[in-house]
Amino acid sequence: MITSFLLFFLFLYSQNRDSQTLIPLTVKQISEAFQSSDDKTNFLIDGVDVNNVKLVGILFNKAEMLTAVSFVVDDGTGRLDCFRWVNEAVDTKEMEALTNGIYVRVHGHLKGFQGKKQLMAYSVRPVDDYNEIASHFAEVIYVHSYNSRLRKQQDSSFMSAQVPSSSFNTPLKGYQASASNQFPGFNMDGIGGVHKMVLDYLQQPSCLALEKGVHRNELAQQLRVPSEKIMEAMEALESEGLVYTTIDDFHYKSTANA
C-alpha cells in the first residue's frame, strides 16, 4: 500500500515534469505542430506535449522595444518569430550582445498567439562551438525517433488489446500524456495470457487517464476472465511493479505512466 502511494505521487510529479522538458526541435516541426484545443496542453509533436523548446539557428530582424526584444530565428528549416522580455539588467545585457546574422541557441516557451506560433524566449545565447549545430540536429532526430517509436509501441498494444471497443471512445487526451513515458527497453516477454490481457487493458489511454484506475470486477467482466484469475494476475503484476492499487485494494492502475 505504501508503495502504491509512493508510485502515485511519483506519477503526479513526473507528469508535471514531463510537460516541462526542453525539447529540441526544428522550425519545420513546430510549423506542423498540432494545437490542441485544451489550454493547458499547448502543442503536440510526435504525440508529446510541447511547451519548452530548444532551437539553434541564425538570429535576424532584432528589434528592441522598451521592455522586450523581438527577433526571428532561422534554423534552415524555417523562420520563427521570437520574443524576449527584458526586465532585468542581466536580460538586457544578454540581448545587447547579440547581433543580426549570428548563430544562437534559443530556449523558450512555445505559444500560440492569434493563430500564429511564437517563441517566448527565456535564454538566447550565441553559439561559440559550431559543432553544436550538428549536435542540435542530431538531438532533434533522436528525440523525434524516441517519441515516435514510443507512440508506435502504444499503438500496437492499443490495437492488440482484446476488449470490447466501447471503452476506446476517449479522445486523444490521455494517450498524449502517456506517450512520453512507457518503459523504455522493458522486457515484457515473460508476461503472457491473462497477465498480458490485464496489462494491455490497463495501459489503454482511457484507463491510464482514470485517476482511480480500474476495479478488478471491471477487468473480469471486460476481459471475460474469472475473477480468481484476475486476482492472481493482479498479484503477480503488482509484485513485478507493473500495476499498483489506488483508492482501495480493488482498483488498479498501470505504472506505465509513472
Binding site: 526544428t26 522550425v27 519545420k28 516541426q29 513546430i30 510549423s31 541564425i58 534552415g76 528549416t77 524555417g78 523562420r79 520563427l80 518569430d81 546574422g101 548563430y103 500564429k116 506560433k117 511564437q118 559550431y130 559543432n131 549545430i133 550538428a134 549536435s135 540536429f137 542530431a138 532533434v140 532526430i141 523525434h144
Partner: protein
C-alpha cells in the same frame, strides 16, 4: 512563421539534387581568388566552389547559405565563420540524415 524557403543541409554529392534552391554547406576553405570565388572542400571530401564576396576574413571552416547554381557550385548569400576546428564527419552525417529518413523534419 515561414517555412517556404528552407536551406537544405548538403555536401558536394547532395548539392546536385537542389539546383536553383537554397542550400547550406560547410566547406574547408582551400583558396580564394579574391575575385568573388572561394574554393573549398565539402564535408564529404569533394570540392565545391562558392561564388560571392565574403564579408570579412574567413576561418578554416565556413558555412555558406545560398542558391545551388551548379552541380558543384553555390551562390552564397550568408557566410558564417565556423572557426578553425570542426567535426566535419558529424556535419556530413547530418547532411545525409536530413536528406534521408528524416527529411520530413527539415524540408
Amino acid at each position: 512563421m515561414d517555412t517556404s524557403n528552407p536551406a537544405v543541409f548538403v555536401n558536394a554529392e547532395l548539392l546536385r539534387l537542389y539546383m536553383g534552391r537554397r542550400v547550406r554547406a560547410v566547406i574547408q576553405v582551400m583558396r580564394s581568388d579574391g575575385g568573388g570565388t572561394v574554393t573549398g572542400q565539402s564535408t564529404d571530401g569533394q570540392q565545391i566552389t562558392v561564388k560571392g564576396n565574403p564579408p570579412g576574413p574567413l576561418t578554416t571552416f565556413v558555412e555558406v547559405i545560398g542558391i545551388a547554381d551548379g552541380i558543384h557550385s553555390i551562390r552564397a548569400e550568408i557566410w558564417s565563420n565556423f572557426g578553425d576546428t570542426l567535426d566535419t564527419f558529424s556535419y556530413n552525417r547530418i547532411c545525409l540524415l536530413a536528406n534521408g529518413d528524416y527529411k520530413h523534419l527539415f524540408i
